[in-house]
């Protein structure tokens, strides 16, 4: 029973190191940070084609991740895709009303994500607003089709 003190200390260190490891996985590997938990600025955007965009895809501004896509559904009125995204409220507050959203592709075959670009209008977007100016995904098949039909002309 004399050794049980060091034994319990060993177990304590083991559990503690495990928790630290989990924090490492959270911060360094999955890129969570305490400041970014405040992603409650909701924006909507309608696209005629979302290509390979998925829930949880990134929303970026100038290449920096500022939010995530939280929902994708078919708008029953316009029959196009309605994308819901949650972005940092600090960023959201500074987006003008004529901001645009485009679906971009990282690399030639990489994942698809949304890129936001702010415009010049003096009025700012509010949480829950819809972005009007959108640019749909580039679908490779369509591109090739256009290319081929241009060639044959």
């Amino acid at each position: 029973m004399k050794r049980s003190g060091t034994l319990e200390a060993g177990v304590g260190a083991f559990v503690l190191a495990g928790l630290l490891g989990l924090i490492f996985l959270g911060l360094q590997v999955s890129g969570m940070s305490f400041g970014q938990t405040d992603r409650n600025f909701t924006l909507y955007a309608n696209f005629s084609n979302i290509g390979g965009l998925q829930e949880r895809s990134r929303v970026t501004m100038s290449g920096v991740t500022v939010g995530r896509v939280t929902d994708i559904s078919l708008d029953p009125k316009w029959l196009d895709a309605r994308v819901t995204m949650q972005i940092d409220s600090d960023v959201g507050k500074q987006l003008s009303q004529d901001s645009s959203a485009a679906i971009l592709t990282s690399g030639l075959l990489g994942e698809q994500y949304i890129g936001l670009t702010t415009g010049g209008a003096p009025e700012m977007l509010k949480s829950g607003d819809t972005i009007r100016d959108t640019q749909s995904a580039l679908v490779l098949e369509h591109l090739i089709q256009q290319f081929v039909s241009n060639m044959s002309k």
């Binding site: 049980s4 319990e8 060993g10 177990v11 490891g21 996985l25 590997v29 999955s30 990489g110 994942e111």
Partner: protein
């Protein structure tokens, strides 16, 4: 003529009976949560089951992370996509390799030791004499070991992932020259804490429970002879590993498959 049929039927009944016995055994061991005194017993088992498994987990994690980085680099650099290396290392470790490989190592290292220890206690009548003293061995001997296995498995998996990612970084960035920023950046963009990290943890909790359950049940249920102990130890490793691999498929389908 009938005898193969009879033999098959008998085996099936034996198997069902063993499954039923082990289920009753699990419920009886876990139903009564250990009290304060049980905490010390649990801590003691955490040491034997968890802390002593650490070296093999750390070393394996390091090498597996290094190998993935090496193989991944060879494939990815063919597409000019070597900055996706971090993403590949992290996802394959977090989702699959860390839970599965550490559970397999755990079955070999801690599972077999548990079976042999409990089997020896049974063979030397220690369990019987504990019963005669009026102490339920299920609570005193089995329950702390089950809880210890259950808790230490996810912790070991965290160690495996962290060390594996470090190993991947070592090979990918320090040796092969992938850019450190894109290594971490790609990883952070593609790994989701809840979907990838916590699902991997959930897997390892299930594996920990199943492997420890198999190990202590094999020890408790064995024929108390030296041959019985060696057979039960082998069975723990074989059944434990098969259960981990089978369950991994099912859990992966449930967690990451879109049905």
């Amino acid at each position: 003529m009938m005898s193969p049929l009879i033999a098959l039927g008998r085996r099936a009944l034996d198997l069902l009976e063993a499954l039923g016995r082990s289920a009753i055994f699990l419920v009886q061991s876990l139903c009564c949560l250990p009290r304060l005194q049980g905490f010390r017993l649990w801590a003691r088992q955490m040491y034997f089951v968890g802390v002593l498994s650490l070296p093999i987990i750390v070393v394996s994690g390091l090498f597996i992370g290094m190998v993935i980085a090496l193989q991944g680099y060879l494939v990815l650099s063919g597409f000019g996509a070597d900055e996706a290396l971090g993403q590949m290392v992290a996802l394959s470790l977090l989702r699959e390799l860390a839970p599965v490989v550490s559970a397999l190592l755990f079955a070999g290292r801690a599972g077999s030791a548990l079976t042999a220890e409990i089997g020896l206690m049974k063979a030397t009548e220690q369990l019987s004499s504990m019963e005669m003293i009026g102490v339920d061995p299920l609570r005193r001997v089995i329950a702390p070991r089950l809880w210890a296995g259950f808790v230490s498995m996810p912790i070991l998996t965290v160690f495996f992932s962290v060390i594996g990612i470090m190993g991947g970084y070592l090979v990918g960035v320090d040796w092969l020259g992938v850019d450190a920023g894109s290594f971490w950046g790609n990883m952070q963009n593609s790994v989701a804490f809840f979907d990838d990290v916590l699902n991997g943890m959930a897997k390892s909790v299930v594996f920990g429970l199943v492997v420890t359950w198999i190990a202590v049940f094999q020890g408790y249920d064995l024929v108390p002879t030296s041959e019985g102990i060696s057979r039960a130890t082998t069975r723990t490793v074989v059944f434990g590993s098969l259960a981990v691999l089978g369950l991994d498929f099912i859990l992966t389908a449930m967690m990451f498959g879109d049905f």
